[in-house]
């Protein structure tokens, strides 16, 4: 050993600092979920569309994002776009990066949800004279949502965990607060152990809540 004595106290004294970072993590995660769901829905509609000019670019988008790392996407957006003179703040770059990334995964999730719906529903809707938007809104989505819900919750957990990467572009989330604390207290192990624990507690709590919510809303048997 290198003359090291474990001391957790300096870390626990700064718990409010870590929790303020946790707040930012949750904040950016919720915003990401919201916007990437919108992006995902639009993407899914493009993907099921008959029009090739919608379908094909959507497919490229999904394939490109799903086969490249989030970290690279973040760096690309934060630094690359400035090179062609588009201004982005680090929080915005982080948010856009996360939304673009998760939008691709959500596109596939929403698409799976829509395609899970029995074709008879579409036909019935048409014969009732419903327009496409009405069909989507009143018939398809409510049913699709039930299918979408579990993978959506999983995706949200993923968002929370992977949002830690925005710390590399200077967004003051839990991971960055942890780094700061580790450097000011010089206690890397203790700090990162505690930060990891906070992430796990956040994740388990939120997934537990979402599960309970899911059971209450989707009580009708499939």
């Amino acid at each position: 050993m290198y003359g090291y004595v474990f001391q957790f106290r300096p870390v626990f004294q700064e718990l409010p600092l870590l929790l303020s970072g946790a707040l930012v993590t949750i904040h950016i995660s919720i915003l990401t979920l919201f916007f990437s769901f919108i992006v995902g829905t639009m993407g899914a509609l493009c993907r099921i569309s008959r029009f090739r000019w919608l379908n094909v670019p959507a497919r490229w988008y999904v394939e490109f994002i799903r086969n490249t790392p989030l970290l690279v996407q973040l760096f690309f957006i934060y630094f690359g776009f400035s090179q062609i003179n588009i201004e982005v703040s680090n929080y915005m770059a982080g948010l856009i990066g996360l939304v673009v990334n998760n939008g691709a995964y959500l596109t596939e999730i929403v698409r799976a949800g829509i395609e899970a719906i029995h074709k008879g529903q579409f036909e019935a809707g048409h014969s009732l004279g419903l327009s496409f938007p009405q069909l989507m809104r009143y018939v398809v989505f409510p049913q699709a949502f039930r299918v979408i819900y579990p993978p959506l919750c999983n995706q949200f957990i993923g968002i929370i965990l992977w949002s830690s990467l925005v710390s590399t572009i200077a967004v003051e989330d839990l991971a960055l607060r942890g780094k700061e604390l580790a450097s000011t207290t010089f206690r890397s192990f203790e700090t990162y152990a505690v930060v990891t624990l906070v992430y796990v507690v956040m994740t388990l709590t939120i997934s537990g809540i979402l599960k309970v919510l899911g059971q209450r809303f989707f009580r009708r048997p499939a």
């Binding site: 050993m1 290198y2 090291y4 474990f6 394939e63 490109f64 799903r66 086969n67 490249t68 790392p69 989030l70 970290l71 690279v72 996407q73 760096f75 690309f76 630094f79 690359g80 776009f81 400035s82 090179q83 062609i84 957990i157 965990l161 992977w162 830690s164 990467l165 710390s167 590399t168 991971a175 942890g178 890397s188 192990f189 990162y192 152990a193 930060v195 990891t196 992430y199 796990v200 994740t203 388990l204 997934s207």
Partner: protein
């Protein structure tokens, strides 16, 4: 005084890109390989009927799956030495990916084992086979079929996740991107190339996964 100002990427940079690519592949193959070995045991434990096996395995899997890879990396790289275990940079990267993938792989293994119908078990037992033999000759071969497609998916995920190992200064692909951007400030081009190289690694694998899935399904 010597001043190095580089306006565009040169041949040495191209070599560095390839080096980074190679290192990424090495990191991931080793990480997933070792992780799968661990996952076989953890997955078996998790699927076991014995609570004292299944619960710790479950705890291991949950903690790893519910914490960020970045934190796992810091703990392996910075924390283990303080407990007396010195970990060089490459080993730390492999170890982190190994531990991380073992948790996800364990779930795949568990699902694979549990996908084999009980009738198979009963039949094998009826033939007088002991537990290890049932596993080796009856269950695992069938489970394997179920495990391969998500396993390939895990490899693809691991290749992308390996980008995080750049923070401990290992010369993998993303780190090469950082180094070259610092030198030339051509972030758009550099990270564009980096993204393209990752794509070249991952996309064929994802197509392969689809093909394999179809083939194995047809096999029945």
């Amino acid at each position: 005084m010597p001043q190095y100002v580089q306006d565009r990427l040169n041949l040495y940079d191209a070599v560095l890109f390839l080096q980074g690519l190679g290192n990424t592949v090495a990191l991931c193959l080793l990480g997933l390989g070792l992780g799968t070995l661990i996952a076989l045991f953890v997955g078996l434990a998790r699927a076991s009927h014995f609570r004292w096996l299944a619960w710790p395995a479950g705890l291991y899997i949950e903690i790893i799956r519910d914490s960020p890879l970045l934190m796992q990396l810091y703990l392996v790289f910075f924390a283990l030495p303080l407990l007396g275990l010195q970990v060089p940079i490459f080993a730390a990267g492999v170890a982190t990916l190994m531990v991380n993938s073992s948790a996800f792989m364990a779930e795949i293994v568990r699902a694979g084992i549990q996908s084999v119908g009980k009738d198979q078990w009963d039949a094998a037992r009826g033939l007088g086979m002991g537990y290890p033999q049932v596993m080796r000759w009856v269950v695992m071969p069938q489970a394997f079929r179920v495990m391969v497609p998500p396993g390939v998916g895990l490899l693809i995920g691991l290749i992308k996740d390996s980008s995080v190992i750049s923070v401990i200064s290992y010369l993998e692909l993303t780190r090469v991107g950082q180094i070259l951007t610092e030198k030339t400030f051509l972030s758009f081009q550099v990270f564009g190339i980096v993204a393209a190289l990752y794509f070249v690694l991952c996309y064929p694998l994802s197509r392969l996964a689809l093909v394999v899935e179809r083939r194995l399904k047809v096999g029945g």
